[in-house]
Amino acid sequence: MSTVVRSVGPAPASLRDPSGPARIAWTIAAILILIPAAWLAEFNPATLMGEASLRATGQFLATFFPPALGLDFLELVARAAWKTVAIATVGTTLAVLIAIPFALIANRQLSVSALAEERMCFSCAAVRTGVRWLLIALRTVPEIVWALLFVRAVGLGDAAGVIAIALTYGGMLGKVYMEILESNDARTTRALLVNGASRMQALLYGTLPVCLPELVSYTVYRWECAIRASVIMGFVGAGGLGMQMELSLKMFAGGEVLTMLAVFVALVWFADLVSAALRRWLG
């Protein structure tokens, strides 16, 4: 490193930050977009706090106590909860299997053809764009729509929930995996690629050591979301805790709903524990 002191050159014509005006413009634009959006969404805190809605909410909540703790009911809830976890787990596993190959194909950082030139080859770029579009299509359709579709195709039950989660979450995981992998410091993979490592090898030795904890933690978070989603899909007949909750809601059995909500909180808390343990282990 040089230790000599350089004489200062002529001062630049202007010290004003060249990106300043653009930043101010974007901030104003964001605010201008948000105000009509809130108006369009009919978001008015006053209606939530109105007398009528407070009374209705209060009456509904009053039916929640005491929670239902009958032994038969608890057994039923336990079985439904177990089913929910199973749907979420199998669905997420399938989603991971869908996401991994797509994330690898679409990754620009691992492109050998773009290594020494500023553009990658046309067909490589076309395949990558195609994969991006496919992932968008998969995750655009909400899981509940997939579930309604597959309830008709494979009948009422858990299979519809599993397929719905696999498809939507496959699209989400694929996109996020891709972004996590591409956020890695490109020099680590580039150093391996220029010395002749293959795409997969550069991934294993350059990208994964950095990104694995983030990938795992996001996947576990998605599994947690899948538990929630499988409850919602239960409402349209895709099995699990949601199906039970819908029955109880229909019969205004607030106590049963409260018990199931408690089980539900416990499930999410458990998912959180698993995630934290995995992160520590990979740390």
């Binding site: 030139e117 220029v194 002749g196 090898q201 294993l204 694995l212 904890p213």
Partner: protein, 289 residues
Amino acid sequence: MHVSALPASVTDSASDTLTDPMLSSLDGVRVSYAGSVAALDEVSLLFARGEQVAIIGPSGAGKTTLLHTLGCAIRPTAGRVRVLGRDPWAMPYKALHRLRSELFIAPQSPPLPPRQRVVNAVLAGRVPQWTTWNALKSLLHPLDAGAAHHALAHFRVEDKLFLRCDRLSGGERQRVGLARLLVSKARLLLLDEPVSALDPVLAKGALETLQQEAFARGATLVVGLHAVDLALARFARLIGLRSGRVAFDLPRAKVTDALLAQLYGAELGVAFQEPPSTDDARLKVIRCL
């Protein structure tokens, strides 16, 4: 540490290099990045098999670009490149990528993933020789921890074998990066400031190890160096690079202080209002650049 004499074949003039099938060369090469002046311009150089060359020059002279162009990592805007006797940009890209596994580019600051263990960071240099399956297996259980240990021992960091890379100091990281080179099978070694983070004694030792290794495998060694004294002490041929052009390409004996002063000239002018008068003082300035 003694300076080992280089074998005669290394110091031979380039008279017989033209017929060498393993010749590496640049011929009228220009590299310009989008929207800026050319990083390399009209560069023509020959590197015989087994030759050891130092490239010196002020910061921004194009040393890194030269090494990366020679290593098929940058496609020149104009001119021809031959790498180990082959024209990389006339090859199908699979063959080009196979050629890349025969050369090794060591960047100045080795980009080691922070969570990776040193043993895997070193063995990453051997990965191009492995199948993907073996590369995966080696992550679960190192396939050749012995080779990694041996390579690290050359640079006196073998005790770090199973540590994570983010536990290393800057100098240790640099030596781990060099150990990666030792486990590779490359025959064209392109090193960018390989010893910039090491103290003078370690730097000399590390450079000596690299030169002996290159000699042992008959590999061509091209090293970009800031430390002019080290380049003069350890290399028979020096190339001076300035503003993307070759300022001189001479055997060590013909590299005079005047040439060096010219090479770093503008830097000196900026650094001091009055240039120092004695040769001794000037050389000192050059050394700290």
